[in-house]
């Protein structure tokens, strides 16, 4: 069994994904075997330890995650250079279960991070992917080129939406779902991104009776299912998630996109 003690890894490579998003690549055999949707607890010595989805795994023992500069911890990660030391423990949590068939992927921002390795497996499985990537405006898109490259391997499509119309179709990512779902050939929907988007994806999927898997975020401390800080309903995002199926998502619909808990455990409006 892998220990829940941080393994110190060296950042080998930092890749700019956008002005505020970077991917950090490091060598770690265990992480390189992560399944899509799993996350690691990343220790930034002297700063913090935060959960990050694995956004990349390579056969040669490399793995990576993709961070958006938000607060102190993510900025510290964003500012790391090749050679910096990090601790990682994990990978933790339930992963996306890839199927063979026609699938839809709905993502936004760094929510795309776990959806990239998922797409890789899906296209290896010869699944067709209808990928909808949403954003407020053109600047904040990441992974579009990488997605195109992955999707080129099967009969797939990418739909880009922006709220201001500066890139792709004007509107919300979820607006682009219905026309495709109406055709009736989508077997499964995968999604990750802002929780209100996820909630909308769930609702639309329910209308069309398509099963979904969504990756959620909550405050994490232990990452291993004992501290309770990541709870949502009767579930622990770190252990029962972060990827949840439709039935569980329906159970927690009363919290989804509505409230989450802060570091004290107090429920706060999202």
């Amino acid at each position: 069994m892998v220990s829940d003690k941080p393994r110190i890894v060296k950042v080998l490579n930092v890749r700019d994904e956008s002005k505020t998003v970077r991917s950090l690549i490091f060598e770690d055999d265990i992480c390189s075997k992560a399944r899509p949707g799993q996350f690691v607890m990343v220790w930034i010595p002297g700063v913090d330890e935060i959960p990050m989805s694995i956004s990349m795994t390579k056969a040669n023992g490399l793995a990576g995650f993709t961070v958006r500069k938000v607060g102190e911890a993510s900025s510290a990660l964003f500012d790391m250079e090749a050679g910096s030391l990090l601790g990682v423990r994990g990978p933790y949590g339930r992963h996306f279960t890839p199927i063979i068939g026609d699938v839809m992927i709905v993502g936004a921002g760094t929510g795309l991070a776990p959806l990239m390795p998922l797409s890789e497996i899906l296209t290896q499985n010869l699944s067709s992917i209808h990928m909808i990537i949403g954003g407020k405006t053109i600047d904040e898109f990441v992974f579009v080129d990488r997605a195109r490259a992955i999707l080129s391997k099967t009969k797939s499509e990418i739909i880009i939406t922006t709220e201001d119309g500066s890139y792709g179709t004007k509107g919300l990512a979820t607006d682009a779902m219905e026309p495709i779902l109406k055709e009736g050939h989508i077997d499964k929907i995968y999604t990750c991104g802002p929780e209100l988007m996820i909630k909308k994806v769930l609702e639309i999927a329910q209308v069309f009776s398509v099963p979904i898997q969504a990756s959620l975020e909550r405050i994490m401390k232990c990452g291993i299912g004992i501290c309770g800080s990541c709870c949502i309903g009767r579930y622990r995002v770190c252990k029962d998630g972060p990827v949840f199926d439709s039935p569980k998502l329906e159970e927690i619909i009363g919290e989804l996109g509505l409230f989450k808990r802060d570091h004290s455990g107090r429920a706060t409006i999202i």
Partner: protein, 305 residues
Amino acid sequence: MQEPDLSIEISSLKMESPLMLASGILGTSIELLRRVFEDGAGAVVTKSIGYEQRMGYDNPTIVEVYGGYLNAIGLSNPGIKEFYKELSRSKIDDLPLVVSLFGAESSEFSEMISILNELEVKAYELNISCPHVKGFGVEVCQDAKLVEDIIEAVKKETQKPVFVKLSPNLTDIVNAAKLAEDVGADAITVTNTFKAMSIDIETCRPILANKIGGLSGPVIKPIAVRCVYEIYQNVDIPIIGCGGVVDWQDAIEFFLVGATAIQIGTGIAYKGLSVFEKIKQGIKDYLTLKGKSSLRDIVGLAHGF
């Protein structure tokens, strides 16, 4: 043969199973607490709640060491008023719910209890032994007068059973237990975690943000078992054993030295939530093999030698 009887009572708290969820483990939301109960816990203890909201320490708050875990969560909690709301969100009368409380003075404890009193809380556990938060933990445990005040204040405020959770970071845990009994505690919970530390040798720094944390898990079991053994010889109130229970064999050790019930925390990290059902089954099989009809028949047996 009939299934052995695992039900126990600690004062007015009736439990179908002697296995409780330890405080601080998943005890943040009422839904999670209920889930643990449904997964086989005989009673569930909430995370320790204080008067004011506390964010706790920065991450890393937890790290694995050989045979156990270190944590320095830092008594993060939403504050008693917010927690009252948490407990009010659903019916809890069927839930064997124990609320864990911490505080620096007796008045804090009595105010908290007065807030919770109207709810169907089944018992209170006073955490006067958190090893890594200054002013709330071991310091309290060490101060006999303060312990006395707190327990007396709490007993005045409530008829419900009051458990006092002790720290193993004390030279003389037996004395502390005797004192708690004398001033009216209904049960002793032993033990909390041990002050400990883990250093990352690559970066040369303590791993926990708080540097020092509390050690739990299998590593502390032999010490916790000894604490229960010694306390059992000196007090008459029930003892709730806690520390490193992962398998049914661990639980049996605690019963043999005199524990009436057992709490499980870190065991969940090793075995998941099925740990309760698995241990329950193991205890039943053991009792059957030994020809005992009730768990009560083995409590304290190790003292016969």
